[in-house]
Amino acid sequence: MQKLAKPIVFVLAVAPFLWLAFRAYSGRLSVNPIEDITLTTGIWTLRFLVITLAVTPLRRITGWNRLIQYRRMLGLFAFFYATLHVATYVVLDLFFAWDLILADVLKRPFITAGMVAFVAMVPLALTSTRGWIRRLGRRWQLLHRLIYLSAIAAVVHYLWKVKVVVGSPVYYAAIVAALLLFRIAWMWRARRRSALQAADA
């Protein structure tokens, strides 16, 4: 069972992509398929960012430390969907019109935010290998805090994109905020404890 867990998580994580590909191939997308692909890959990026960010709080609350085994794969899936999302925009939506893309990224805050979220994920994906973890040592953890920036930028990107800010983008913003606040609270607790221990000594 233990051995099967990872492949199962992998299959579940790749399933949204396969389902999207199937819908595209079989003509089950809407009459604006590029929009469907953009929205689907975008929302799954955000979902995997949230799931990845949830690993540490869940471990701390439940004490179920095995969860850490899945964190890298989940994070890489966030990057996988983000890459598809950006590729959809560059290739399918604007078809390599780099001048328009550059203007979009510079002029439109919502696209700027999305690009920040994506770019911040690139070094994380590149340094996700065992070799890089070893090489970077303590700095690895520091570097990988970039996921906080990525998640915040992704949520801002979503909030800015919709015409009326209700429902789903608000829920995702709240979840990301809760996951980040948990970390701050945990850090404070750890500090207070060590301060108390120092006082005891």
Binding site: S30, V31, N32, I34, E35, L92, D93, L94, F95, L100, A103, D104, K107, R108, P109, F110, W160, K161, K163, V164, V166, G167
Partner: protein, 331 residues
């Protein structure tokens, strides 16, 4: 719904006339009105490339449940050589937030709206305020086929063969007074049938407005059908406004009230976000939405984006309405 006097117009009858070949756009509107707005040439035709404006390449018009064929429609009052969007495209991809915010929500849920009987109230500054049954409102007027481009503020577009009557006909019947400088429109508010109304997405009911000269413009119509059939609910059945040179949200759906007012009326999207949605909301490739470009659009059914045209390509007819105005300020 509407009284049937002649056999229904078939799609194949209203297209495919060689005389229109090599003409990109063909607009024959009520003469006096066209002159009044300075569009003197009654018959407008610009030279264009090869043309194939028949419905043959499309999968419409299927008769969906609840639709009735519209009869006695004057064909090709406004037409174009551009490829029409299919019936499926026009009826499966809609913005109608009263039925949810997804593009496929209206198709799924708009069927719950009862559209018969339907009354339209006409009031405000006019000599003949009245509440009409839809049939009585439409019957005295000649139904016309108007093939218009529809440009959504979200940067997608379609070409739609509407059937309707000029709004000006209705306005004249109501005899607005000199105080009537604007026209305000209201969509049906019936939360039991329109679940989106239970969410505070916009300040319900949906409202829109036009300046009197915009409302009287011969291109402005009240549509009751498309592809020769009565409207589907997701397209704003049983009667909706169509203003082809403005972003789609100005063309208010499922209309229940037309009110003559003496000041610029508040409109739903403008109230929601005045910086992004102006009262005029003319299609303008040079004035971007604060969050995205309006310079290009995706025609539904096409892969590459295409440039957006000033006034959605109706500049010859409507630009004079805005002479002297700064359209960057009055967006």
């Amino acid at each position: 719904m509407l009284i049937r006097t002649t056999p229904p117009m078939r799609a194949s009858e209203i297209t495919d006339e060689p005389v229109y070949l090599r003409r990109r756009e063909f607009i024959r509107l009520a003469g006096s009105a066209a002159v009044a707005v300075g569009a003197a040439p009654l018959l407008q035709a610009c030279a264009g490339g090869d043309v194939s404006a028949d419905f043959a390449g499309t999968d419409g018009p299927a008769v969906a449940a609840g639709q009735t064929p519209l009869t006695n429609v004057k064909p090709k009052v406004v037409t174009t050589d551009e490829k029409l969007n299919t019936f499926n495209e026009i009826t499966s991809y809609n913005n109608f937030y009263e039925f949810g915010q997804g593009k496929d929500d209206p198709q799924r849920y708009a069927g719950r709206m009862t559209t018969s009987p339907w009354k339209v109230q006409i009031d405000g500054h006019c000599n003949k305020p009245a509440e009409y049954h839809l049939e009585d409102l439409i019957r005295p007027h000649q139904l016309e086929e108007r093939i218009y481009r529809l440009r959504c503020v979200e940067a997608w577009s379609m070409v739609i063969p509407w059937v309707g009557i000029p709004l000006a006909d209705i306005i004249k019947r109501a005899e607005p007074t000199s105080k009537a400088t604007f026209v305000a429109f209201t969509t049906l508010y019936r939360p039991k049938e329109m679940f989106g109304l239970n969410e505070p997405v916009l300040d319900w009911p949906y409202t829109e407005g036009l300046r009197m000269d915009e409302a009287m413009h011969p291109l402005t119509i009240l549509s009751v059908g498309l592809y020769g059939q009565t409207l589907m609910n997701q397209n704003g059945a049983p009667i909706r406004l169509v203003v082809p040179w403005k972003y789609g949200f100005k063309s208010i759906k499922s209309l229940v009230r037309i009110q003559f007012v003496d000041r610029m009326p508040q409109t739903a999207w403008n109230k929601s976000n005045p910086r992004e949605y102006g009262f005029y909301s003319n299609v303008n490739p040079e004035v971007d939405h604060p969050r995205w470009t309006q310079a290009t659009e995706r025609r539904i059914g096409e892969f590459r984006r295409r440039p957006t045209l000033m006034f959605n390509g109706y500049g010859d007819e409507v630009a004079s309405l805005y002479a002297g105005m700064d359209l960057r300020k009055d967006y």
